[in-house]
């Protein structure tokens, strides 16, 4: 790859991998091509996103009235459970790794495919089967345990389809594990000649760190879910106090997975942001090595903080103290990243394309969300704020203001590469701004609601909280529109979009040296790498 010329703007009339390898549905469903599998994932994930979004819509509509008249309490409980289960396991966790991770990692390292293409396809089928179980659970009457499945409610008291959902998530968990395995082995073994570790794009580093977390955390979830299922089926009793068990043991197991899970959701987003910001700034990232290693610091420390979800659960006062200091520690590498991104803007030549708008939005909203995390890490403050809307606002700032914005930014950025089409830039900018506004209007009031004492998972609430709830619901409506817009114009661009050149952003990175869309085996010849990433010279 030559650093001084951009091998872009090579016109292509060929539709690359979209056509090579077969044009039938069957050829897609039996593909080994990582790019096609990424597309399969993207379609499925989009579907689940809107399913989870529909649940959110119902929730925000109900919360307009303090008496929750729109829905029975039971139905509301099932709705927020569905929203959480779908958004966490069927959207957020696979969102970037299974779409952009699958599509881009081989391209970025100069490989022809991932290490285990058949396992890759198998992971998609596992995801779909898991999804089927979960939708079935919904159609057969839903689940009302919350996505956190706390015992003994989920094991001994809930009269809903817990086992069905638990099986669905269990199966999908293996999709995550296989994806992680594939990405790790691919990154280790299949880099092109000259692609040393410190020449890798930060997205690849991010996917690697994410994959380590995916592989080590998800099995814990799998076993914990199995134990719930067994307790419901056979009355095992490990979590049931009536049988000598301990409900708080469940919380420890659950959060041991679920805290690293949130890093599975944010690390890839950070990788995307690093890629997009370099292109938007037309320059190298500031502090490349710190950026790379901070990903691993976050991943590692992230395994040690799970007890901060349990400060008031009944664990010992001293355990809470330890988890508190570790939770502050995990914020340090995140802070490092934010400062490095800001420094990257310095003396750059900044272009405000839609991906850059999403990127800047991410940095701001992730900072806000992260700051509120500090409130929650402080045990004394957490006592008042935990299990209120403050926490709901905190994690939505990170996961929606952070991860979803990064996901959309990445989708826009690599859209020309993956589809061979350009999307309409003007509309995209409007949607990005609308999303930023709608998002803040939806979730900022929730910080105040939480501070004022409104608990989460409440179907009805004290009337004094109504004004802020209405504001939040209005914001949600705007947010919904801003999500529907890309669905429309990106879909439209597939049929009517202008043909994309190989490198429409004049970006660095091996993926931009091949055609848009890439041929089935990615590169005509194996690239040889002679310099680091982000060698922008204009």
């Amino acid at each position: 790859m030559n650093a001084t010329t951009f091998p872009g703007n090579v016109e292509t009339t060929d539709a690359g991998y979209l056509v090579e390898g077969g044009r039938t549905l069957w050829s897609w469903l039996t593909t080994h091509d990582h790019k096609r599998i990424a597309v399969l994932y993207t379609i499925a994930i989009t579907l689940f996103f809107f399913l989870g979004g529909a649940a959110a819509t119902l929730m925000r509509l109900t919360l307009v009235h303090p008496d929750g008249r729109l829905m029975s309490a039971e139905n509301y409980n099932k709705t927020f459970t569905f929203h959480g289960v779908v958004m966490v396991w069927f959207f957020l966790i696979p969102s970037i790794p299974s779409t952009m991770g699958n599509f881009l990692v081989p391209l970025m390292i100069g490989a022809r495919d991932v290490a285990f293409p058949r396992l890759n396809l198998f992971s998609w089928y596992l995801y779909m089967i898991g999804g089927l179980f979960t939708v079935a659970a919904l159609l057969l009457g839903g689940v009302d345990t919350g996505w956190t499945f706390y015992t003994p409610f989920s094991t001994m008291f809930s009269n809903s389809n817990v086992i069905l959902v638990v099986v669905g998530v269990f199966v999908t968990g293996f999709s995550t594990i296989l994806t992680g395995m594939n990405l790790i082995v691919t990154t280790h073994m299949m880099r092109a000649p000259g692609m040393h570790w410190y020449r890798l794009p930060l997205f690849v580093w991010a996917m690697y760190a994410t994959s380590v977390v995916m592989m080590l955390a998800t099995p814990v979830l799998a076993m914990t879910l199995s134990l719930i299922g067994l307790e419901r089926l056979a009355g095992v009793g490990i979590f049931d106090p009536a049988l000598g068990g301990d409900p708080i043991l469940f919380q420890h197991f659950f959060w041991f997975y679920s805290h690293p899970a949130v890093y599975i959701m944010i690390l890839p987003a950070m990788g995307v942001v690093s890629e997009l910001i370099c292109n938007g700034v037309r320059g190298k990232i500031f502090g490349y090595k710190f950026m790379a290693w901070s990903l691993f610091a976050i991943a590692f420390i992230g395994f040690l903080v799970w007890g901060h979800h349990m400060f008031v659960a009944g664990q010992s006062m001293y355990a809470s103290i330890v988890f508190s200091i570790l939770s502050f520690a995990v914020a340090v590498p995140s802070a490092i990243k934010v400062f490095n991104w800001l420094a990257t803007l310095h003396k750059g030549t900044i272009v405000f394309h839609a991906p850059m708008i999403y990127t800047l939005g991410f940095i701001g909203l992730f900072t806000l969300g992260g700051m509120t995390g500090l409130f929650l890490a402080a045990v004394a403050l957490d006592v008042n704020l935990t299990d209120t809307y403050f926490v709901v606002a905190h994690f939505h700032y990170i996961m929606v203001g952070g991860s979803v914005m990064a996901y959309l930014g990445g989708i826009h950025y690599w859209w020309p590469k993956a589809t061979g089409r350009l999307y309409p830039e003007g509309v995209a900018k409007i949607a990005a701004w609308l999303m930023f506004v709608g998002f803040n209007l939806t979730f900022f009031p929730q910080y105040v609601l939480g501070y004022e004492g409104m608990p989460r998972r409440y179907h009805q609430y004290l009337p004094r909280y109504q004004d802020l709830n209405i504001l939040s619901s209005v914001g949600a409506a705007i947010l919904a529109v801003s999500y529907l817009m890309p669905l429309c114009y990106l879909g439209y661009s597939l049929f009517r979009g202008k043909s994309a050149p190989a490198n429409p952003w004049r970006a660095t990175g091996l993926e931009w040296t091949t055609a848009s869309p890439p041929p089935e085996h990615n590169f005509p010849a194996t690239p040889v790498v002679t310099c680091g990433p982000y060698e922008y010279r204009d």
Partner: protein, 217 residues
């Protein structure tokens, strides 16, 4: 012996056979790491429950069949040894010897499962299966019930892994007999061996935790 020995069919995504082999090995090690975490949860639950009900765990363990458990241990450890020798054989191009050893390893795994099935059957007769047939009374009954719940979950998942191994070993044995492997290419046997070692090692932790509680001193 002068016919060309099988080489790895290098899949299109790999540059060469050695890259393919290294990828397979790393993949299997990564998978083993996930299994450690998977079983780790059960062992953590076991530790917590045993700390709460130490006497009940001794009593529960006394109800398990020590002779069967020890025999099963011997079978699995032997099979692990044979799997290692099978790998050595194929490295020396002795495909048929390797096939036979793999077949015996698989058969030993099957024997393990049969013995374990017999254990489960006996435990059913004695009323030691919580949730299905549990007839224990006495002051420690609850703790014993917890012990057995853990016993079934741990050995159940372990047996599932043994079963998968039995099938895979059989497939490897057949392929080896038919000449699919050589000193130039035996990766599938090697990663199968790694998997089987995992199955062995998990059992090495299961055996004392279930069958030997309170037996020391």
């Amino acid at each position: 012996m002068n016919a060309t020995l099988p080489e790895a069919a290098v899949q299109q995504q790999f540059d060469d056979a050695s890259q393919q082999k290294e990828a397979a090995m790393l993949g299997m090690w990564a998978f083993i790491a996930t299994e450690v975490l998977f079983f780790g949860v059960l062992f953590a639950a076991y530790v917590v429950c045993r700390w709460r009900f130490p006497l009940a765990f001794v009593e529960g363990s006394a109800h398990t069949d020590f002779a069967m458990g020890t025999t099963e241990t011997a079978i699995l450890l032997t099979s692990g040894c044979l799997a290692a020798i099978a790998l050595r054989q194929i490295q020396l191009d002795r495909a048929r010897q390797s096939a036979v050893l793999l077949m015996i390893t698989s058969a030993l795994g099957m024997a393990f499962l049969i013995l374990h099935g017999m254990e489960y059957h006996d435990e059913f007769e004695e009323g030691l299966i919580p949730g299905i047939r549990y007839t224990q009374t006495g002051p420690d009954a609850r703790g014993v019930e917890l012990f057995f719940s853990l016993y079934y979950v741990i050995t159940g998942f372990h047996s599932l892994h043994v079963l998968i191994g039995v099938v895979v070993l059989l497939v490897m044995a057949i392929r080896s007999w038919r000449g699919a492997f050589s000193s130039a290419y035996y990766t599938p046997i090697e990663i199968t061996g790694l998997y089987w070692s995992l199955v062995d090692i998990v059992w090495i932790f299961v055996y004392p935790a279930i069958y030997l509680v309170g037996s020391a001193g």
